[in-house]
Symmetry: C2
DNA sequence: CTGTTAGCGCGTTCAG
DNA sequence: CTGAACGCGCTAACAG
């Protein structure tokens, strides 16, 4: 790799002059700047990132931590983030947290290789976030709330979305609506449970603990829950699964046991993953505005990087997507999107 | 952030000693190492990444460039890469190429912020790869072949997979099998076309240019192609779309025009994306071993980083997945996976 | 065993 | 307008 020194030598100037010609807009004669620029492009010169970062004490890079880079779900989020980062001329890099000692977040966060981060990954411990966040490294959390300076929060209205979809079930006259949770430590799952409870209360229904099931956000756990439900004496009229994967698993479990959805039991999910509209019956669910979420996260992150204090949390509205898996009347149609605004 | 100097001062030793105590396993008295370690953890010390990279001339990080972080498709690839990278104690960061001048690959590749890269992203220009690849930065290409030193190639057997799925259609007695290509500059699409042609030739069928359609890998383009097909006087008996998204679009287009798949026209795709098994009719397609592909790519990359020359290309076998969209006989079943080994 | 020192490549003073 | 010199934080070689 060609270094600044090489460029300076080729251009016949000193290293300091070369630097000025390349980075600053004043203080260099036009003719010498031209010489330097020529030399640089001739040598295919690019400043060494590590050296520049070390000197300037910034990296112009932000990190996005995702639990699993799966799904158009996250893809949209990243698009939202990256479009904003492009505006600000920041690079965006994504990563999953590994397992071992030498995890990626160690490298990126602790060793100061980025200027800010956006986290949607439960495997990144609170402790790591607490000990690295600060004025020189603000962090936007999408999956939890931490009451720590420079920790920002941006999320969809999980509680409201859950309320709405539960209410939708109750409005059809159901009384026995089950809830399937995600992992106990999932903030999102807990918020969705709250929304579920609020709807129930509003309809004057007591929470029945026999109708609360526990999964872990995987399709597999949904199947297991379905099996558990079927072994009870009475089937719920409807099930609200805290995410779509579990809803899929439940539908699949019903299929195996010849339980018809939605006729014998309605199933609704949360997230609106791609397959939700393709399965049979198409899944009623709650869509999060992923692109906007990413954009809002990035925008707030840059405000923090620029030194803004007191950036309030952002909560974006969700959208109820009605499909066949909860439809008792007027079936037919393609099972495609029928959005209902919040 | 605490620096090594701070640690040294607190521990009452020199900066060099502190460094040795932290990084090397010999040459430091146990008691002083202990003091240093204590001071370090007290100060929450972490070496500055930029400084270390600058000094050691390496980053212990590899980059993965993806066109779109969408889909469990890529997710598996990244898992494969990361699992190997973890073994080698390297960090993995993923990125999409942006549009502007200051793209992420500029930063990562040109400014030397990584020790190697894996590319599956047509938006990264050949030229950038050619000008950055070298002994200090080997690159594994998954979506093209570049005959340049330190450019490695790892891929699924696109040609063989295409051959196999085309052959599958021909074996049912079809003679008029259409091909829908991806973008003209897609290496993968071209290989798949080759496989298609080979199968045709083997069955003694002349290539009919009226049966070659051009798409761009999007579902939308599949729909357009379907419309074009329908406006011809004679429908093909079967269609091989160069990827699943386009196959989905074609099926969707047929649906709108009341053409039944597979009864009136069979449709097959390539990739085995998640929805392929969920749509109706479930899509016959070719599965690439994404996880293994990622693992092989990473493994070869590390061989190159370690200085191995002459690493041959790796071509991994694909798997034909028979589902309902190409089944004329013995329908029924769940439409779930029926793998047939290559 | 420990402290001192010389860069890694760059950006930025400060004299000339 | 230009060039020499310093230091960002760290590692490694060398003295003591």
């Amino acid at each position: 790799m060609a270094t600044l020194k090489d460029v300076a030598k080729l251009a016949g100037v000193s290293i300091g002059t070369a630097s000025s010609a390349l980075n600053r807009y004043a203080g260099v004669k036009d003719s010498t700047r031209k010489k330097v620029l020529e030399a640089a492009s001739l040598l295919n010169y690019r400043p060494n990132g590590a050296a520049r970062d070390l000197k300037t004490q910034k990296t112009d890079t932000i990190a996005v931590f995702l639990h699993d880079l799966a799904g158009p779900f996250y893809s949209e989020l990243i698009r939202g983030i990256q479009d904003v980062a492009d505006e600000y001329e920041y690079a965006t890099i994504a990563s999953r947290g590994g397992k071992g000692r030498n995890t990626t977040w160690t490298r990126l966060l602790l060793e100061g290789r980025v200027d800010g981060a956006i986290v949607l990954d439960p495997t990144v411990p609170d402790e790591v976030i607490r000990s690295t966040v600060g004025p020189t490294l603000p962090i936007v959390l999408l999956d939890r709330i931490l009451d720590t300076p420079y920790c920002l929060y941006v999320a969809a209205d999980h509680e409201g979305g859950a309320y709405q979809v539960t209410r939708h079930l109750l409005e059809t006259g159901m009384r026995r609506v089950a809830f399937v949770s995600g992992p106990a430590d999932s903030h999102d799952s807990n918020l969705r449970f709250k929304g579920y409870q609020r709807a129930l209360k509003e309809f004057g229904i007591e929470t029945d603990h026999g109708l609360i099931f526990h999964g872990d956000f995987t399709e597999r756990s949904g199947e297991l829950v379905a099996r558990a439900m079927l072994s009870c004496n009475e089937l719920p009229e409807g099930v609200f699964a805290a995410n779509d994967e579990m809803a899929l698993g439940i539908i699949h479990g019903c299929e195996s046991s010849e339980i018809r959805v939605p006729d014998q039991m309605a199933v609704v999910g949360f997230d609106d993953i791609t397959v939700a509209s393709y399965i049979n019956p198409a899944l009623t669910t709650v869509r999060q505005p992923m692109y906007e979420l990413g954009g809002a996260a990035a925008r707030n992150l840059f405000r923090a990087i620029r030194g803004d204090k007191d950036i309030p949390p952002v909560i974006l509205p969700t959208q109820l997507i009605l499909r066949d898996s909860s439809r008792f009347y007027a079936r037919g149609g393609e099972g495609h999107n029928l959005p209902v605004n919040v």
